[in-house]
Subunit: 210 residues, 2 copies
């Protein structure tokens, strides 16, 4: 559509998730108006991602060092592990300030049609961690406390539920280990009449005495 480098940039930006053709065009023309340093900072940030991002040796979330801040924090309850799909989910749970345990990032959810089976997720690492067999990285002083509860916090969709069921079967055999799942029900601040049937049904089944 456009000529020369501006069209190349629009094409590349249009490949990013959530950026449509109009958005890509808007960003490209915006970048024509900003300082060269501003573009340089974006390029630099891309370069550092391209050079490779480090993942925590214990939980698998994105980290600046060998251990992420959470795994390195001695005040965290090491007996409690919350299993999530992605690093984004770690941040979402951290924002609640309700959870004081550690995490385990699977790196996705079971999706056989997309070629994601148990071996593509960090399930082996989870089992080793619970069994106390995961070798701690060098220089890590924490005694690996025995894990007493695993909270499965995969997404409440088809793949996430299938992953939760699979994990439950794998973890069920560990002696002294409680396996829990995040509650499903109505969203806080939502309207009951706008809740979908599945969610409302789950909220009924999971009703609590007051």
């Amino acid at each position: 559509m456009y000529e020369g480098p501006i069209q190349d940039l629009i094409d590349e930006l249009g490949k990013l998730p959530g950026v449509g053709p109009k958005g890509a065009q808007r960003i490209a023309f915006h970048l024509l108006t900003v300082d060269r340093e501003e573009i340089g900072r974006l390029q630099g940030a891309l370069q550092r991602i391209r050079d490779g991002v480090q993942f925590c040796a214990v939980c698998g979330t994105v980290a600046e060092q060998q251990l992420c801040r959470i795994c390195a924090d001695p005040r965290r309850d090491r007996a409690l592990v919350c299993v999530v799909e992605e690093p984004k989910d770690v941040q979402a749970i951290e924002r609640t300030r309700e959870f004081k345990g550690l995490y385990h990032v699977l790196g996705g959810s079971l999706n056989p049609l997309a070629g994601v089976g148990p071996d593509q997720l960090r399930i082996r690492e989870l089992l080793a961690r619970i069994g106390g067999q995961q070798p701690l990285p060098e220089g890590v002083n924490h005694e690996p406390a025995e894990i007493t509860e695993v909270i499965i916090a995969t997404d409440p969709n088809t793949e996430g539920e299938a992953t939760a069921t699979y994990l439950y079967r794998m973890l069920n055999g560990f002696p002294g280990l409680t396996v829990t799942r995040l509650a499903t029900g109505l969203s806080m601040g939502g309207d009951l009449e706008f809740a979908d049937e599945l969610t409302l049904g789950r909220a009924l089944t999971g009703r609590r005495s007051l």
Copy 2:
């Protein structure tokens, strides 16, 4: 929120127009999963923009060479010039396939509060072009045909209307020049009941006999 380079990238992406914090996070984690070459292509496209984009010596739109494809096309009607705010507007009008003349890109609209006066727009170049005084770039063979009609196609908002009025006053004095403005009225395919009062009022005022 995140550690290390991923947060830097989220911060930089979040500065782009139309990309919120969630969108920036989504793009950053997407880039973790793609080939290094894919990121390289985006970096390269940014570098070419950073190195500078060429603008057409006649109309001022983004161009690959000294003249844009439209100004270089001998089949275009050189007596008809459509004045738009941005290169995006050139593409929007080209998509209609209704216009066979040339363009003139102002580079924005009058907005005194934001410090954009007539001198910040390419109005002087427009006047020189109409007066036949604009020196043609070297190697351009087209005889500069006399311009007989200028269509003002600035946005139908406050700044665009102010710019149109200003341009009309400036162009009014040229002998033999017709100055027109894009029609305002109902959107095709739209619902009359959902049209805003201003648009519906304009559609009434500008009614045509069938």
